[in-house]
């Protein structure tokens, strides 16, 4: 008996993200999330696909407590509450759709340094983190530039760096490839493939899904209607037709 239990325990993964029965209603009474249940394993790169209005962005905003619905959310085993939000925000790096909404400092360096500064890290550590984050996104020479003057692709990469400097375990990205030209898009896809983090990526870009994600969640009208391996979902014409195309 003990041996059997031991085996089961070895098979069970620790869930990086776990959501139980999440409901969310906007002030105008529109119910955006209707009982979401999901769990994501460490290192798993999951794509979240669905039409506009399906609830993808709303779901992402729950991961670091910006929106609060009914239901429970655990991030890396920590239950998300008003008390633990501060901790959770260090674990979940949320990258928004429009980079202009995230780059609000005079220089790239200062933008990437915001997170570490807020955390109260010592100056040397801050410097090290910024360098590391900029390196990871390939923008190491851009520290002194004003984000305002960068191209969309460059801004998107800096935006990712602004959360990487906090050394999160999870990256949640909302439409990362939207508005990028083919070259910038290729660069972004390669970047995401190379990063080791657990990811939840909301996107319309099925090519990106195919290359980066191992798992796909299909959302429609506030519910998850399909969940499976990328190869299976992308070949499932019926599901795609019903909820996406």
């Amino acid at each position: 008996m003990f041996a059997l239990t031991g085996n089961i325990m070895a098979i069970t993964h620790e869930k990086m993200i776990e959501i139980q029965d999440l409901w969310f209603e906007y002030p105008n009474k529109r119910i955006a999330l209707k009982g979401i249940d999901l769990h994501i394993h460490p290192g798993e790169k999951t794509a979240l696909v669905g039409l506009n209005g399906a609830g993808k962005s709303t779901l992402l905003l729950h991961l670091n407590g910006i929106l609060n619905g009914h239901g429970t959310i655990w991030i890396d085993g920590i239950r998300l509450t008003a008390n633990t939000v501060g901790q959770v925000r260090a674990l979940v790096g949320l990258v928004f759709q429009s980079p202009d909404d995230q780059l609000f400092s005079p220089t790239v360096f200062e933008d990437v340094a915001y997170g570490p500064i807020y955390q109260g890290l010592p100056p040397e550590e801050i410097e090290a983190r910024v360098r590391m984050a900029l390196n990871m996104v390939g923008m190491q020479d851009y520290g002194d530039r004003a984000p305002y003057h960068l191209s969309v692709g460059e801004k998107k990469r800096v935006a990712i760096a602004t959360v990487l400097s906090m050394q999160p375990k999870i990256l949640a990205l909302d439409e990362p490839s939207a508005g990028l030209d083919p070259r910038a898009r290729r660069s972004l896809i390669n970047l995401l493939k190379g990063l080791p983090h657990t990811m939840l990526i909301a996107t319309h870009d099925l090519g990106l899904v195919e290359e980066v994600a191992s798992r796909v969640l299909v959302m429609s009208e506030g519910k998850i209607t399909a969940d499976g391996k990328t190869e299976h979902i992308l070949k499932d014409k019926e599901t795609l037709q019903k909820y996406l195309l």
Partner: protein, 319 residues
């Protein structure tokens, strides 16, 4: 539900008809001048600019940074608008902002709009322009701009608050001895927040679009009026306020004496020998006490307004 600028929007019911009418007349007068000036000076592009920037200022007033616990600092934006647009366009833009706030969101009354416009769109703008230009005469280096902006923004809030206090005092809503020191001290603090945010914005803009800040290097003929006006207003209000707060106007003082005598007749009074009526007995102490009480009250007003706005948020995130 809408953003929270510093508490200077006077609601209706607070100002006497005389005071509100007077300031309506003054504001309309100054605005007509502003309109004439802008017709000549501005390019065609600037009317969409004023409209959209008015929206940006309104939205910008939503931005905040936490100071301690429940309080946060906000931006009014008069100084920033002045630095970016020049005084006349800024006056018109702030007029649009304050008017829409009053008309649509009931932030500030409609009868009191003339007075509110005077405080925020006219005094706020003129004072920031004067201070900014004055300081830039000292040094035109890029690095100095945020500092000049800080001073301009602080002054705009501080002086505008004096104007606001005087309006309340002349209406009999809040006694001068309390309203003025209270508004002045609270807004001296709030002004620091405005100053810092304005400086931060100028640093950002200085990096991204330095061309926007180079502007006029010398005070042009048409703006000279604003420059002088700004200085005159600041000095006038700064001098008038302490005068008003330590000497209640003649009529009021006589009335207080009368009241004192009448109250002396009621037996209740005789039980309390140290009856302290501000302005009559131990004036210095009374003023200080009154000022302290006033500070607490206005602080309560500011916190109360911020707190109220946070409570009414549609979807409450606990942070």
């Amino acid at each position: 539900m809408h953003p929270s600028p510093p508490p200077m929007h006077i609601p209706d019911g607070f100002l006497s008809i005389v005071v509100s009418s007077f300031f309506w007349a003054v504001s309309v007068g100054v605005l007509s001048i502003a309109l004439r000036k802008t017709k000549r000076m501005l390019r065609e592009k600037d009317f969409p600019l004023m409209g959209v920037l008015a929206a940006a200022i309104f939205a910008g007033q939503m931005l905040n940074f936490s100071v301690t616990g429940g309080t946060s600092g906000h931006l009014l934006g008069a100084a920033l608008a002045t630095i970016l647009l020049g005084p006349w366009a800024a006056t018109l833009t702030m007029t649009v902002v304050v008017s829409v706030q009053a008309l649509i969101f009931q932030d500030g009354g409609l009868l009191a709009l003339g007075a509110n416009l005077f405080n925020m769109a006219i005094v706020g703008v003129a004072v920031s322009y004067a201070v900014y230009r004055l300081l830039l005469n000292l040094s035109k280096k890029q690095k100095f701009i945020p500092l000049a902006g800080f001073a301009a923004a602080w002054s705009s809030i501080f002086i505008a608050s004096l104007s606001c206090a005087l309006q309340l005092a002349f209406s009999g809503t809040s006694p001068a001895q309390i309203a003025i020191p209270a508004m002045a001290s609270i807004h001296a603090l709030i002004g620091i927040g405005e100053g810092m945010i304005t400086a931060g914005a100028l640093i950002f803009i200085g990096r991204a679009r330095p061309d926007l800040l180079s502007g006029e290097t010398a005070v042009s003929a048409s703006s000279r009026g604003v420059f002088t006006g700004g200085i005159v207003i600041s000095v006038a209000l700064a001098v008038l306020s302490p005068l008003a707060s330590s000497h209640p106007d003649g009529l009021e003082w006589v009335a207080e004496q009368q009241g004192f005598i009448e109250a002396a007749r009621s037996p209740m009074y005789n039980l309390i020998p140290d009856y302290l009526l501000p302005g009559v007995e131990s004036e210095a102490l009374a003023t200080i006490l009154a000022g302290l009480i006033g500070v607490v009250i206005v602080l309560g007003v500011s916190i109360g307004i911020t707190h109220n706005r946070q409570i009414s948020r549609p979807n409450d995130s606990r942070l």
